[in-house]
Amino acid sequence: MKLKLDKKDLKPFLQSLMDEYNLFAPAQLAEGVYVFRKIDHPDEVDLSCSNTQKPAKEVFFPQSETMFRYEKAGKQHQVTSAEEVERKRVILGARPCDIQAVSLLDEVFLGKEYTDSYYINKRNATTIIGMACGQPLSTCFCSSTGGSPFLRKGSDLFFIDLGESFLVELLTEKGKSFQKNKFFKEAKPEEISLAKAIEEKAVQKTDASVPIEGIEKRLDLMGESLFWDRVHEICMGCRVCTYLCPTCHCFDIVDEGEHQQGQRVRNWDSCLSPLYSLETSGHNPRPSCRERTRQRLMHKFSYFPTNFNKVACVGCGRCILYCPVHFDIRKAILWTSSKRPKEFDGGMI
């Protein structure tokens, strides 16, 4: 039996979620600017955007997170960890690409030797309600990265926007615990077929032609290629791509406060920053944009796959949409393949 949620019941449904969970959903900060954040009132939730600027990974891996607080008590310091999650959470409205990215982050943070307890506590405490992409953008290439606008993997519940209602699929144990939710009604046959039609159309629309398959091996052969001298040229090192990328996971750890009292915080960082790899001696292994751009592309498409057998890109297209100089990562990937234009001149193809 398939379920649905009528849109007129959405706000009460959200309120009922908020009674039990901390709800994280897209909210509009300004016209056209959306982020995932903790919702204080159902009116804040805005599911109309194709995708948020800041990705859903924020719910598990916040941009700025206190790790522990300390306070001097006599000769020693009292240290209080901030890794516990006070209340269980629900994330609503995450797109399949962002959810696929979270599973890539799992590989990093839930490692064999060391586990990131800040991440895993949030991860375990969260139920994910994924939202299918009925209207992918032309920049969406999730189908080239092993994803799809209707990828259900990673979601506990899956919503499909049908216009007047959402079709609701309960996928995992966590999802099935919502079986008896009073706002979920039985879906009508025409609603189920509409969902199928939307799915078929959406899957056709995303770009499956980006040659990501086998890119790791191709990049291994490109060690000192002229490609690296050219691909970085138009990049201004602005870092927008790394801050909006759902799979980027680099962070910095700093102490805030003074010796008496303060906290240790971790903040997102970017390998495109000149200071990122600067050593105390003054030596910087990545002194120019060339090395840093190379690091970014190699990490996503070669180093990460070597460690985890998957590329660290989910085809969300944010880097293409928001890059101030319109660097198109699809073109960089295309150029590594045999389908590339004969010459790679200055700038991008």
Partner: protein, 270 residues
């Protein structure tokens, strides 16, 4: 941990060795490490950074770290009073491949203040329980000037030992210096250790490594038997924050000790 003792190592006062002891007995018992590993030390409010462990696991009770005063945290570490608290996370990283050294000769080449973890290795190998596990030990250690040599008292003791060949050199001597004067790569050539059945461990500033490495090649050392400990900017120390990667490996987790055979296959990102 708590700062037990601190003393200046070099005449320019930029290097200071801190001897730290554990606050809790259980931590002291549980902390097991191998030479080559490092710890992340922190002073709350100032920050945290990785430092190679200079003491050997055979020196029970306290840990020694030699700190170069270079920034906010290291200055704070230099100014700590005895009895002050120091945060520690460790032991982290891989270690020198002690198991591979069994039954072989060991050549240790150190330059400047990269000698810290090499001290850990040498003290470990010289310990009565370990000395006869390896055959000949040769140590070549150079600094720019006599005042900048680390662990001067220990060097003097080691010079007297018969079970170790120690050659200390400086780039420029002073009026009191009676030892060798010469750059490490040239001294290595002069000493000319045999490469057969020998493992080389080399730690030093990039410029020293750049000129010493070809000399090791001339002496016929194969890449699989040359090890080094790499320096890289680190933060988490456990392979999560992404900062210290060289190719697909992380210096904090898969290193900092690498063989040259491994490094050959990685991008020159260090």
């Amino acid at each position: 941990m708590v700062l037990k003792k601190a003393y200046v190592e070099t005449t320019d006062r930029m290097l200071r060795t801190l001897e730290l002891s554990f606050i809790n007995e259980e931590d002291a018992k549980a902390f097991r490490f191998i030479p080559g590993q490092f710890c992340e030390l922190s002073v709350l409010g100032k920050g945290e950074a990785p430092f190679g462990i200079a003491s050997s696991p055979t020196e029970n009770g306290s840990l020694k770290f030699t700190i170069n005063k270079a920034g906010v945290l290291t200055t704070a570490l230099h100014h700590l009073e005895e009895g002050s608290e120091v945060g520690i996370r460790g032991p982290l990283g891989n270690a020198y491949p002690i198991d591979l050294f069994k039954g072989k000769n060991v050549l240790v080449i150190g330059g400047g203040f990269a000698f810290t973890t090499l001290r850990s290795l040498i003290v470990y190998l010289l310990h009565p329980e370990n000395r006869n596990k390896v055959k000949d030990i040769t140590v070549i250690y150079g600094a720019r000037m006599p005042g900048l040599l680390l662990y001067k008292e220990e060097l003097a003791e080691w010079e007297k030992r018969k079970d170790l060949k120690l050659v200390v050199t400086v780039d420029w001597g002073d009026k009191d210096w009676k030892g060798k004067v010469g750059l490490v790569p040239n001294v290595l050539e002069e000493v000319g250790p045999a490469s057969e059945n020998t493992y080389a461990v080399i730690c030093g500033p990039p410029i020293m490594i750049k000129f010493t490495f070809p000399k090791l090649m001339t002496l016929q050392f194969p890449n699989e038997r040359i090890y080094t400990s790499l320096e890289k900017r680190m933060k988490c120390g456990i392979g999560k924050c992404g900062r210290c990667n060289i190719g697909h490996l992380y210096v904090c987790k898969d290193g900092p000790v690498f063989s040259y055979a491994q490094l050959e296959k990685l991008p020159k990102d260090y």
